[in-house]
């Protein structure tokens, strides 16, 4: 598997987010703000989101790293380093 670009990972993140919050206009999200505040996501949604990322990317994000993926930019940055470090 070739390394994924940041753009590809961002698309995957947005897709996973769209699956748990289909009614949200993803384009309107501020990438530097906490997703949970912006789209009123609860703990079950958030776990569904993390599971969605796992299914797409094969990453197992530990509970202790959850704080790193609460913004869109943070999440993409975390995944870029995690996914590509694994290659």
């Amino acid at each position: 598997m070739t390394a994924l670009t940041e753009k590809e990972i961002r698309e995957i993140v947005l897709r996973a987010l769209g699956n748990v919050a289909p009614e949200v206009e993803l384009e309107s999200l501020d990438p530097s703000k906490d997703l949970r505040d912006q789209i009123d996501i609860d703990s079950v949604d958030f776990l569904n989101f993390v599971i969605g990322l796992h299914k797409e990317l094969g990453v197992d994000i530990p509970d202790s790293d959850v704080a790193k993926i609460t913004t869109l930019n943070g999440c993409v940055g975390y995944l870029v380093s995690t996914v590509n470090r694994r290659e």
Binding site: V20, A21, P22, E23, D40, D45, L47, I51, D63
Partner: protein, 394 residues
């Protein structure tokens, strides 16, 4: 022989619109199969069938709005043709007599007797409810007859504040209609149910420590949330105080036929659904977690099933994610209790004469005083607390 009828998906549902069939005449079906999509105030619901057999005929066509209890299809269950029986009373107690016979789709007007436009019975009823003057409505039904949809359209257009109301339909969900249903249901609850309220602060350290250790061993797909522990604890506590689980119907308590926990899920578009997870007391934490993830996902995407909306025997609402510390619940009629949880807060906590800091949660019970008393409600919360101190047994 049998009939598949428009189910009641909540105490205040009067009618639903058949959106689509998932079956056609001649198809074999078994109990529990999703056979139709029905639009209600709570969104589009996948409706399951309660009998096994072969579909004989589809009585109602997509787009038709029919009252609760109306025959939607007939089923051959033993090789003989289905018999048409008189309609059963709908689950709602306030069924209006002017609702048309169950087997008649509402858009079928009576034969014309004069040059006045024909008006279906349901349209007349809706016109009364919405204060619409029928003579001003243009019919779009067969031969210009006036349907309930025409009335609703006219009422919508007549609204003086139409510009002040944001577009209310989001992905098939009519938010104004949902608000009306919630309003009717909650007003009925506060009008009819003598609530009493109790709460108890629970030390969550054992539960959270166990959960953290457990999750460290698990892949992300098997991760547990503390809300699953809460729901399991509620279900098991019901074994000790069964009078919080069931319904107040026809002047008496009817115990639930199982422990089906309704989970309140607030929708981002506005409004609330509380689909049930069936038989929570017989499930493992893993099964419950799987059910919760699936249920919330389907609530968001509009794929809830009819049995989930009609079977809840108690409701749990966890408002911890919203940051509140405690909940004073309003019971969802005809249920008789609602259990609320606030957020986990670190509080000073005295144990064995020493003061420490513990993660705590406030569990509250709103219960129907016609069915149980504060003493029994208190026993229930004590049981929830005790069960959460032994999370490995949940």
């Amino acid at each position: 022989m049998g009939e598949f009828r428009m189910p009641s998906l909540g105490a205040d549902m009067e009618s639903g619109i058949l959106v689509d069939w998932r079956i056609k005449p001649g198809d074999p079906v078994k109990r529990g199969d999703v056979v139709a999509l029905v639009e209600t105030e709570k969104g589009v619901i996948e409706v399951e069938i309660f009998e096994s057999g072969v579909i004989e005929s589809l009585v109602v066509q997509p787009g038709q709005k029919v009252p609760v209890g109306a025959t939607l299809a007939t089923i051959r269950t033993d090789g003989r043709p289905a018999e048409t029986r008189p309609p059963v009373a709908a689950a709602t107690t306030e069924q209006k007599p002017e609702v048309p016979p169950a087997s008649a789709p509402v858009s079928t007007p009576p034969p014309p007797k004069s040059l006045r436009p024909r008006v279906s019975p349901l349209a007349r009823k809706r016109a009364d409810e919405l204060g619409v003057d029928i003579t001003t409505v243009t019919g779009t039904g067969e031969d210009g007859s006036i349907t309930a949809l025409d009335i609703e359209r006219a009422a919508e257009q007549a609204k003086p504040s139409a510009t002040a109301i944001p577009p209310a339909t989001t992905k098939g969900l009519d938010l104004n209609a949902m608000r009306r249903v919630i309003a009717a249901s909650m007003a009925r609850s506060k009008r009819e149910i003598p609530h009493y309220y109790l709460n108890s602060t629970i030390d969550m350290r054992c539960a959270l420590d166990w959960l953290a250790a457990e999750n460290a061993k698990r892949p992300v797909t098997k991760r547990l949330l503390y809300s699953a522990l809460l729901i399991r604890a509620v279900a098991l506590a019901i074994h000790e105080v069964p009078e919080v689980n069931g319904f107040w119907l026809e002047g008496g308590f009817k115990p639930g036929d199982g422990i089906h926990v309704g989970v309140a899920i607030s929708l981002r578009q506005g409004g609330l659904v509380n689909p049930a997870i069936h038989d929570v007391d017989g499930k493992t934490l893993d099964e419950l977690m799987e059910n919760m993830l699936d249920l919330v996902n389907r609530a968001r995407t509009g794929h809830l099933r009819s049995s989930e909306l009609s079977d809840g025997t108690i409701t749990v609402t966890n408002l911890g994610d919203q940051g509140v510390e405690s909940v004073f619940g309003v019971i969802y009629p005809p249920q008789v209790a609602l259990v609320g949880f606030g957020k986990i807060v670190e509080r000073p906590w005295a144990v064995g004469g020493m003061l420490g800091v513990r993660p705590t949660i406030v569990a509250s019970l709103a219960a129907d005083h016609r069915v149980s008393d504060g003493h029994r409600g208190g026993r229930f919360l004590i049981a929830v607390n005790r069960l959460l101190q032994e999370p490995e047994k949940l």
